[in-house]
Symmetry: C2
Subunit: 280 residues, 2 copies
Amino acid sequence: MIVCVIGLGLLGGSFALGLKARKTPVTILGVDSNPLHARQAYNRGIADKILSLEEAVMRADLVVLATPVNVILHQLPAVLDKLPANATIIDFGSTKQQLCEAVAAHPKRNQFVATHPIAGTEYSGPEAAFASLLHGKTMIICEKEKSRPASLALVEALCHSLTMPLRYMPAAEHDLHFAYVSHLSHISSFALGLTVLDKEKNQKNIFDMAGSGFSSTVRLAKSSPQMWGPIFTQNRENVSEALAGYIAQLQQFKEAIDAQDEELTKAMMAKANDIRKILG
Amino acid sequence: MIVCVIGLGLLGGSFALGLKARKTPVTILGVDSNPLHARQAYNRGIADKILSLEEAVMRADLVVLATPVNVILHQLPAVLDKLPANATIIDFGSTKQQLCEAVAAHPKRNQFVATHPIAGTEYSGPEAAFASLLHGKTMIICEKEKSRPASLALVEALCHSLTMPLRYMPAAEHDLHFAYVSHLSHISSFALGLTVLDKEKNQKNIFDMAGSGFSSTVRLAKSSPQMWGPIFTQNRENVSEALAGYIAQLQQFKEAIDAQDEELTKAMMAKANDIRKILG
């Protein structure tokens, strides 16, 4: 199988390495607008060849769009136009609704399978990629009824071979859920980093005094602005709703603390402790 | 040396286990108002004997108060009253200013060393304790000039033997810093847990969809309300200021997202990325 990976960063690179770690032979054609990333991906064995987008797509059985979501929004219809008749295209975008709408009326819509692998780290680029990133991680597939059976079956089989459990859901539902369980986490972490950096001009203080609690809460503040900016823009209504809910919870905490209402803060924390039931 | 540990939970228990793991012989007298915790601590070898507070304090060379900060506030003057003339007392509270003020005029003030080990996990109780929790973690000492040289030297030597680096600072400065680098992280995490639990009535959805990012950001929401409620109350002015700053950052994010001002969200994230320089 010939797989064209467009965007050789953390996710695209890890997907390629994961495919190569299986027994089934696979050729990876790599495409990246950043020549340094392309070279790094080639040197690390992520891509067998670096080609232009046109050349790579023409030869592919499967095309993977692993670029930021604003780039996917433009690439998806353009690549679909050029996609060979027997080929399939997937994307790894963290938002799904706008992407699906952008190709809803495309004559080759059924060659597209809208996917979102629930995996990542706070690092980015080909140097951050590793073969096991996707192992055991859930792959969400949206609007599966709009993909032709052969394309859907190919993607499902690939996920199975990478030990990725599958979940299916409408694109709008996907975007709403991820505003809460992912996008909000990132903003809470970016804002925490900003608040502490603003206050603590002496960065050595943060380093010395920050227990592991702060490190884990602020970890996502290391994430890439180029990747996350477009996600928040594309999912702005859901993210805005989630943020409003979060700010309201924080304000309630603040009011309870200001009023020395310790029974209320304890009750809120006890309710938040329910997260133990879910995350163990 | 005979050490009396009052409060046999995560921190008190781990401190006792850490002392026992050294070569120097030590006897731990355990005190806990919860009979189950006392039994668990005895069974795990955290305490060699379980005694009443009075009996244990009377025999101790060193007393450690490892109870919630509201309890320490009452125990510290009461235990100081009974403390043998050659003994030293320390506390593991996450707030320092109110505790120091409570004994500022106590005739035995100089037998007290105000300490805060920067260590913990989201779990609590003697079953969560482990010998290496404090290894390599910073110990903050406040108002060292108010402790007598022999007591200060004992505590410094103990920290050295546990490989804990020392930092000294005024109590008011301690409480201000920790509002930002610790207390705020916990509230951000509790509020995140509440927001997501409120929205996602179907908890299986959270479990399936939450990537590792959500897990790490929400981890502290598992923390003990009994421990954290009194910390927020005692440090309410600093915590309230930190929360106000955090809410303002979140509101700025929300406004930028609502206005589709992606340049601003990216600039805020790029600034937050500076946390990489500190936390690596």
